[in-house]
Amino acid sequence: MADNGSNFDIRSIVDGMNHRRLGIYVFVTVFIAFFLVPLETGIMTALKSTEAINRSLPFLPPAGDGFTLANLELALEQVQRGVINSLLMALPATIINIVLASMAAYGLTLVDWRGQIGVLLLFVAGVFVPYQAVIVPLARFWTHIFPITEILSPLARLVLVEPYHLELIPLMITHVAYGIPIITVLFRSYYKSMPKSLIEAGKIDGKSVTQIYRDIVLPLSKPMFGVVFIYQFTQIYNEFLFSKVLIGSASAQQATVTLILPQIGASTSGLDYGLRMSAAFLAALPTLLLYIAFAEQFAEGLKTGGA
């Protein structure tokens, strides 16, 4: 194609394009394999007996008597309380987080006042602060300064509430607090693109700041609530460091799933990969399903919000 010069040869262009497009599809396929192989290998290994794991290539499906559900069953037994704890903690944390952040973004975006930029700057900087910079005080805060688990301990007498559920509350609030900056930034970028005329119309109708939020902004932010829910639920469910700092041990009753997973299938004789992969798959399942169903929303949250 390069040496065409001035004599315009349509055939060589068509051929060239075809080759080029074919090349693109080859690359696309190679990278599909690249991104899926670790996951596919993990799932295949989860379905194999130990003997089959040692014998067969890791990415091949189990054959004949190499197939077993024993590892998955055993893993489910060990992982399920962690999955339940994580869901119990992550669902309310996500909802509280996004409601607060939506309000904050509204107050900082659609209502104009001087000095807004300073407050906003603190929110944006908060997105990037490494959690390591706050975890040493965090444990002290929840044990010495604000022992909320003790304060709420009478709640443990309620039906369906176990004492260890209360131990999840500090973790939940921690996730809410540190999730506010990023979700506020996400909502803000959405509210900034919202037509100003709608807000102006509300003002002309004599609506108050609260009425404008309730009647105009909230109904219009429904798709954004979807985006940030998918994004933030995934983040909170997947998070590890806060669980490690506030709960600590994988054997604690209130241990979250990310805390339990790195301990499964480990023994002095080495790692039981069949069991470990089964547990990894089960642990990932809630967010994996959510992602497959709402990949677009997840991508939307990621590209404005960051990792």
Partner: protein, 316 residues
């Protein structure tokens, strides 16, 4: 406030009365918007900035041993002096730097490549994008397990494939010389979908007429991308780079989950893992807090220019 109406006449005599001023303040957008942002702001500020301050205060003490209210009687920078001359800290910071530079650079280039590839009107684009981004939806705890198995010396897939070429086996995670690179590779696998999505959004905002104009001029595709398209992706590159660099500083979970202990694979210790280990394994709280502050300063070195850039561009 209803009674304010009666003060009308006197207000006109002496300019504006204080009640009117007060009512004006109450009706200002600042006060009326406060109920919306003040509560989330307070929670966030206590958690983030209160936490940073408290952490700094602890770092000035000599606190170690059991967790108890720190005594703030004897404050000095001793822990910082100790940290800056600790070979472990220096080594961890070096690993951080290697991770930061190579991980960020490769993720950006690879993600840009994927984005340009998907931007060429290929079929099933949504599905392909979903597959490329899938690792980002997984917890680091999970992906660490997947890569532990990929890298396994005896029957991991990479060594099986190397075996077919009669190479290896290579102990990727056990060999301190290459463990960090093996982990960087795994993290690139997880993050390049993210950079791809950021670049795709940037590419879509560039009018296709620019690309067509280049084609008519007879410029080659590569040249069009290098001269016309990529310079316009500066904003995407900057925001993705900041996210990746900050991640490279704080990456803890993936390393921890590789071993399930406070000691990550040998040769991969970074400040984040060192700091958590000093605190929760050895209970050197003050020392750990000092390392955390150093880590925060490094992150600030990345964030502050970025925020300034955003502020100047008016895109904050």
């Amino acid at each position: 406030m209803g009674t304010n109406e009666t003060t009308g006449p006197s207000a006109t005599e002496e300019g504006v009365g204080w009640q009117t001023k007060f009512r004006y303040v109450l009706n200002s957008d600042f006060v009326r918007s406060a109920p919306f942002w003040a509560v989330p702001f307070a929670i966030m500020a206590v958690a983030v900035y209160g936490g940073i301050g408290y952490n700094f205060a602890i770092s000035l003490t000599d606190n170690n041993g059991t967790i108890e209210p720190a005594s703030f009687s004897n404050l000095d920078f001793e822990m910082y002096v100790q940290a800056l001359s600790d070979p472990n800290v220096i080594q961890a910071a070096t690993h951080n730097l290697i991770l930061l530079v190579s991980f960020t650079a490769i993720c950006l280039v690879f993600g840009l490549f994927l984005a340009i590839m998907l931007d060429r009107q290929i079929r099933y684009k949504e599905t392909v994008q979903m597959i490329y981004l899938l690792p980002m939806s997984l917890s680091f705890v999970v992906t660490a397990q997947l890569w532990l198995w990929m890298y396994d010396t005896d029957s991991g897939i990479i060594n099986e494939l190397l075996g077919l070429l009669s190479l290896g086996p290579i102990d990727f995670i056990g060999n301190p010389e290459i463990a960090l690179w093996a982990i960087i590779f795994a993290l690139i696998w997880q993050f390049s979908g993210y950079t791809m999505v950021v670049y795709l959004a940037g590419l879509q905002s560039i009018p296709s007429s620019q690309f067509e104009a280049g084609m008519i001029d007879g410029a080659r595709t590569l040249r069009i991308y290098l001269r016309v398209i990529i310079p316009q992706l500066k904003a995407s590159s900057v925001s993705a780079a900041v996210v990746l660099m900050v991640f490279a500083l704080k990456a803890f979970t993936f390393l921890y989950a590789m071993t399930g202990r406070y000691f990550p694979p040998q040769g991969t210790d970074i400040l984040a893992t060192l700091m958590v280990r000093e605190a929760w394994q050895y209970n050197n709280w003050a020392y750990s807090a000092a390392i955390a502050t150093l880590l925060l300063l490094m992150a600030l070195g990345v964030i502050a220019p970025y925020l300034y850039y955003q502020y100047r561009e008016g895109s904050l």
